[in-house]
Amino acid sequence: MNRRESLKAIGIGTLSASALMASCKIKPTEDSSTNNESVKDTTGRQAFEIVRDKALLKETFFNSHEMATITLLADIIIPKDSHSGSASDAKVPDFIEFIVKDEPEHQLPMRGGLRWLDVQCLNHYNNDFKDCTTQQQTAILDEIAYPFKASPAMQPGVAFFNKMRELTAIGFFTSKIGIQDLGYMGNSPGKWEGVPEDVLKKYGLENV
């Protein structure tokens, strides 16, 4: 099934379909480029890795509409709370922009999935996902965010949201904010003397 057929299948009229087509032609713009860290420290890096990193940082994959939607979704998945900041505070969108270039197998599922989401919203609410009300966004996400109870018709959205959620979690919990949030206390020279006594006692493992 090509895209034209799929649009027809979900009942989008000529006008909105052509509007979609037009938005599809938006060229990637400079403003959606990321502010990934430059590749300054090349200690221990192989020559081909340095060249590859520089090249990837110059490329832009997502357009500004896609980046805005990714940012919105990432912050819905991991919002600011009393412990730590949000996904975008941790620059998760920049990570996602980089990783889809680094691992191109994510590109089609992400681009297609974002499009699927927008088309669903256009169909139901006559707006792109990002321009829907919070209630509308919640309603559609609730249909794709629970893999074990989602309906068969929602499976493309489930697959997309699984990936979006996974990339968001990786991006967040490998950032400085996310690592502190998890409470990881290692990566610092010290002396490992085993599990603390109170912890062993709690689990009844003192004599194991």
């Binding site: 412990h83 979690a169 919990f173 690592i179 990566n187």
Partner: protein, 582 residues
């Protein structure tokens, strides 16, 4: 194009700088012998080049594996595939070949698991009725294991087990919390769990001022800046360079070993990656230690009038008897560890606990056995690497366990509740790898592909490797053991049990990265390329000192045995030179 020939003649040229080549160079250089070492990759000094202590956010890919299969901080330069240096397969074979092209080779990133083979392992046919016996006994190699322990350092516990010999041990590290759960469960099923054995300095190494004791970052696979673990680069080649007797040429890709009209080796031809020129160097003796498969390739490509079937190959055995560890395993989330207390649980970058093979094969439908390598704990979050990030499983598991309020909710989700689930699940994963014995067989082999060359014009290897019924039965047993242990500790398995259609989860051959056996030793020159000293039957000034010399591996990881055998061969060569036999 012309070939640049060196005018000087070295005493010994060594091909390769990994465990076997590094140890050979160390022994010879310290004995005052003039050695030239050729390494196919660049110079690598962990003190300068290691990515130790970097945070995931210091990597653009957060530790992901786009350019390094074991993660962005892993020390290995290379991987399963190398651009311009292919290998091919035969008969539907799926052998996986991991290569690290750099000073020290794969010892820069290896797991540091340092086990001795036991008396029965050297007499496999006699003890178990499969494979072949080695031409040497444990007692003959024991003094070299002892010397390797003293020279390089290994931690462990004295257990007195017959076929898992004790060494000269530094104190073992204490286990992590998750690992204790595995130990308790395994012990309850009659599986004896003991301290791991690893080449990491848990205490200062007596008499060695160049290396410092471990500071417990668990990042051995990145290479250690203070040389707190064993790498051939840091502990053998760099010290050998300091003697002034060892000359190192990096980025030197060996094409073939050269022989004279008398059939003896007299040098090596190589191409330099630096200038893409062809070179020849001359030596009185050649030591081959390019890695199990690469060494077979070099021998098979070294054809001459005296050695028409390839060098050291009148037996037609070179490349055959290729065998790798069997590999399976299991991982689980331990619900009892949800919301666990945080502390620095990095520990060492090798095993804290392991279970040596514990059963009697007479009651089983496969020979030999496997051991368990136990892992788990509050690891540094990261994308890629050996274990990845258990958080990826959270949206699939959070529907199986009650929330902090004691209520169930559907799996998946988003928002503050999901964010909290990631915290709650952090550090709850535990598991173990199963690593076992594959029997060396003539019909598992690598050979020269007659039609394919690499970018240097060197004919490449073609693999043929199939698991047999014994190995598949062993994998079935691994899976049964895994499921039983996971159940015993109340874990939620992260893997679906596999059926016979996928060999019960048995990994592809090569994935163990313990491949050995392609240039085996033996007293009968019709059945073995090398004699019991690692010296070629057909060419007395050619020695081999890498994993290719193995007659038969065991479930013990091979590196410590490669080091002991390489030391033994190098000392034999020193002795033979004194007696003017080579």
């Amino acid at each position: 194009m012309q070939i640049k020939k060196s005018s000087s003649v070295y005493d010994v040229v060594i091909i390769g700088s990994g465990a076997g080549g590094g140890m050979s160079g160390y022994v010879l250089a310290n004995a005052g012998i003039k050695v030239l070492m050729l390494e196919a990759g660049p110079f690598f000094d962990p003190a300068k080049d290691s990515l130790q202590l970097k945070w995931p956010y210091e990597s653009l890919r957060r530790g992901g594996n786009a350019t390094r299969p074991m993660g962005d901080f892993d020390a290995a330069y290379g991987g399963w595939e190398i651009e311009g240096e292919p290998y091919t397969q035969k008969d539907g074979s799926e052998f996986q070949w991991f290569r690290a092209k750099m000073l020290g080779g794969r010892t820069n990133h290896w797991g540091r698991i340092s086990l001795r083979m036991g008396p029965k392992d050297f007499k496999c046919k006699t003890a178990y009725g499969v494979g072949d016996d080695w031409p040497i006994t444990y007692d003959e190699i024991k003094p070299y294991y002892d010397k390797v322990d003293r020279l390089l350092g290994v931690y462990g516990s004295m257990e007195g087990m017959e076929n898992d010999p004790d060494g000269i041990f530094l104190p073992p590290p204490k286990p992590r919390l998750n690992e204790l759960f595995v130990k308790k469960a395994a012990t309850g099923l009659g599986i004896k769990v003991i301290a791991g054995r690893g080449s990491i300095l848990t205490a200062p190494l007596p008499g060695n001022n160049d290396r410092k004791a471990c500071f417990y970052c668990a990042q051995c696979n990145r290479g250690c800046k203070i040389y707190g673990d064993f790498s051939s680069s840091s502990c053998l080649v760099i010290p050998a360079l300091k003697t002034g007797n060892l000359t190192l040429i990096t980025n030197a890709v060996v094409r073939e070993i050269l022989t004279g009209a008398d059939g003896l080796a007299n040098g090596v031809s190589y191409i330099s990656k630096d200038d893409m020129q062809e070179y020849q160097v001359m030596a009185k003796t050649v030591i081959l230690a390019a890695s199990t498969c690469e060494s077979a390739r070099i021998l098979l490509n070294s054809k001459s009038a005296m050695h028409p079937n390839g060098l050291a190959n009148s037996s037609n055995v070179v490349g055959k008897y290729l065998h790798d560890s069997t590999q399976g395993g299991a991982a689980a989330i331990l619900p009892q560890l949800m919301d666990r207390k945080r502390f620095n649980e990095d520990g060492v970058g090798s095993l804290h606990l392991y279970a040596p093979w514990w059963l009697d094969n007479k009651k089983l439908d496969f020979p030999r056995g496997y051991h368990l390598e136990i892992f788990g704990g509050m690891m540094m979050p990261g994308y890629g690497g050996y274990f990845g990030f258990e958080g990826v499983t959270v949206p699939y598991l959070n529907g199986y366990l009650p929330g902090p309020d004691g209520k169930m909710k559907p799996g998946g989700g988003y928002g503050a509740s999901l964010k909290n689930d990631y915290r709650r699940f952090y550090g709850t994963m535990a598991g173990f790898g199963c690593h076992g014995t594959s029997t060396a067989r003539e019909d598992n082999y690598c050979e020269i592909d007659p039609t394919v060359v690499d970018k240097y014009g060197i004919p490449v290897l073609r693999f043929r490797y199939k698991w047999n019924t014994d190995e598949i039965n062993q994998a079935k047993h691994m899976q049964e053991t895994s499921q039983a242990v996971l159940k015993e500790m109340g874990g939620i398995s992260l893997m679906q049990p596999k059926g016979p259609e996928s060999n019960y989860g048995l990994d592809k051959p090569g994935k163990g990265i313990h491949e050995v056996g392609t240039v085996r030793m033996g007293d009968d020159q019709k059945r073995s390329p090398l004699n019991r000293w690692g010296q070629a039957h057909d060419c007395k000034n050619l020695f081999v000192t890498d994993g290719s010399v193995f007659v038969q591996q065991s479930e013990k990881n091979p590196t410590w045995t490669i080091l002991a055998l390489a030391m033994r061969t190098a000392e034999y060569l020193v002795d033979q030179r004194k007696k003017q036999n080579v």
